[in-house]
Subunit: 491 residues, 2 copies
Amino acid sequence: MGDQQLISAEHGGTKVLTMETVNPSVVKMEYAVLGPIFTRALELEKELAEGKAMPFKAILKGNIGDCHATGQTPITFVRQVIALCTYPQLLENPMFPEDAKQRAKGILAACSGRSVGSYSASPGIDVFQKDVAAYISQRDGLPCNYSNIFLCTGATEGIRTILKLLMTGKSGSEKAGIMIPVPQYPLYSATLTEYNAYPIPYYLDEENGWSLEVSELDRALTAAKGRCIPRAICVINPGNPTGQVLSKTNIENIIRFAHKERLMILADEVYQHNVYAKGSQFFSFKKVLMEMGPPFSSNQLASFMSTSKGFMGECGFRGGYCEMANFQDDVQKCLLKSISVKLCPPVLGQIVVSILTNPPQDGDPSFVKFQNEKSTIFSILAEKARLITDLFNSIEGISCNEVQGAMYAFPRIYLPDKAIVAARKLNQTPDFFYCSQLLEETGICTVPGSGFGQKEGTYHFRITILPPLEDIRQIMGLFKDFHLRFLDKFK
Amino acid sequence: MGDQQLISAEHGGTKVLTMETVNPSVVKMEYAVLGPIFTRALELEKELAEGKAMPFKAILKGNIGDCHATGQTPITFVRQVIALCTYPQLLENPMFPEDAKQRAKGILAACSGRSVGSYSASPGIDVFQKDVAAYISQRDGLPCNYSNIFLCTGATEGIRTILKLLMTGKSGSEKAGIMIPVPQYPLYSATLTEYNAYPIPYYLDEENGWSLEVSELDRALTAAKGRCIPRAICVINPGNPTGQVLSKTNIENIIRFAHKERLMILADEVYQHNVYAKGSQFFSFKKVLMEMGPPFSSNQLASFMSTSKGFMGECGFRGGYCEMANFQDDVQKCLLKSISVKLCPPVLGQIVVSILTNPPQDGDPSFVKFQNEKSTIFSILAEKARLITDLFNSIEGISCNEVQGAMYAFPRIYLPDKAIVAARKLNQTPDFFYCSQLLEETGICTVPGSGFGQKEGTYHFRITILPPLEDIRQIMGLFKDFHLRFLDKFK
């Protein structure tokens, strides 16, 4: 107590919140995507803007899947409808196509007071819940009830909402245990830390294209027995940061496992439209689960989708949805009560969700343009995915599984022992050390593999495949030069 | 354990989440603003739409401060700038004023990739942080550093973020104790329940215009000693649901109390523009605290503001900000890390914050229209505040403190004993019983006082002052008839 007072006095005297008193779960949270490497990149960017000489002309933000920031243009129809809904005086303007106007009128009619400035119901405007349900129904060839859908402030908020429900409110061996992949998107690890849950890591098999093996799920769960109450398994498909696309058989095996172990499945399917590799196909967990029939078809499942990925890439609008399968009415009511405190997701983000799930149809004035914009974006993404995989694999000391889907490459880097020793001396993980030097020497901002988790003794980094095609060769050239210099320096 | 299994089997067999296993903190949360009375109102609204005969023609949603839903029109400049930013093709369109175009161009230049569809930095676009800081600086006549500002998804998210930091991560007598007013806006009680904190209720004095007395703060804190670690006091000014505006002396006394007890102040100042009563004036906690000088001026303070209230009422955009005063750098970094997991607040909501804090200036093409729209909204709100106070006070068995500010009346209803007995028989609180019958007989949707907290043995409800002026007399007529019938029925 004497010591504690001394420290507090040193660190700010009468302050309530000091680093000694801040919620310890928040102190422990880590979100590497916007972590120290990114913070340093922003500093460098500022110094560049102030005219400081650097070995590069610009920072390349390869750390985050931020489509428009890296040059992707918005889908015209999305922006037209939003502009019309925001400023309905434009409904008379001839520059807007008729279907965009009709759409906007329908949306305004569904808003309280015919304004996007009013609150919506907490799970979203019902017309949009119905759009989502119709989309899922058509995607899966199975019925979908709109009351099982809630819209959210990006998929992030949906995932955090469902994880919150799964918490036990207890500590020690009664903490909620949540299975998460390694490597994983760090929203999961950060949120579990914040919620004081017990993460149960299962490893994806890099040697087999980041496949997900049930034997590994068994091992992971067995290792966690007695340490927590296992309640759910999170699966990211297509994978982030790993880019793999699960086969239907693989999904069936995961569902069997979840059912055997009484686990809810959290299916992070935000990259469901981002599938590039020949032979790869997206299967939704909902479809596979329902088609397996009883008893599997009654397993609880929450699936998440976002407007920030796919072909729209509208990250700034913070649109997303969650579909709940096999949630009882009383549990759903409890969930709705918990989100009502936050009032509602942003209404314009909800509109983007509605267009994502209910796009212009054949014959509509905007159909052709919409389809062209969409297919151009996908064909370029597919080309980048191939190109980046090939380029990484052409470099000594790097191996990279095929980017089958999503928006990232997650190459493995084979670091010389001397580099590992040098990193340890700086109290850095070797991959952090590597990414840090990469940034300082080339301006390329990536995320170290340790931010996602990786097998002991292996090192990786994540980089988006989003930069313009014409820039990628140049970026990869810069990267290759750095990498070879690095190998040479520490050989 | 046997019983538990039996219950689980009854309630869904192999389900992971049942009402028995859902996070108990979430089960306990209550948010009365969108609670059972509102749910019932939505049902009635649906039945009305289906043509069912009712004693009324429409539901009046007096439960929530949703300006546009009750007929307020958006500020033109806000919507013009958002439309221009969303669909920059409009920048050539002559129907938009030059200052709206310039504003939009500046905003797009500050967005990554010049698109509102890209992520912003987690605390918001820096240009907007600077707009907020300049606004605060001008409001208070004191410097404000923009790095102390973070934008959020409505003030709600900012409040939840700061409360999260204040948690101890412990249970029992080491829970974080947070002082909250009674009556209070139920975001506070719901969030404290969710976070497993210890609420320390202090009572506002209804007999003295809902004033906040330091002796009551002392009493409340003393009563909580040994039960928690007191860390903060939340103050809502202007008050919600109570509508009082704190005097400068009152604020000084609260600051002295907070300093003496080492409490952070959370100042919910979202209604800072909504002050109507003659003689009432808004003083920010920041200004008062800074002007008091040492040692008070180093007390930690977080202040919250929203785009959903004031004169814009743009609830659906989910814009808000928080200013942190006297937070050390390391604590701020910790906060930024915690919000980075959620990526960023909606960019268009951030734009509304920027216009709220940096409106058109004298001489700009949009200035006169902006000012006219703003002053019209305020003068109508002030008239409604007066009218509703007077009308309530003219009815037998009702007393209502003056609505000095904010957007609600919180009248006290004196219920006959027989009504109280009838309510208890239905396992309802008497005010819930009353509001429920009010809804069924008139279509007027209110929130029972028990949803905000009230002194034992007193009963209230909250109703917004937002309906159009021309409707208010009629609504109050309906209300009065109901109320007198109710008194008569249970006398």
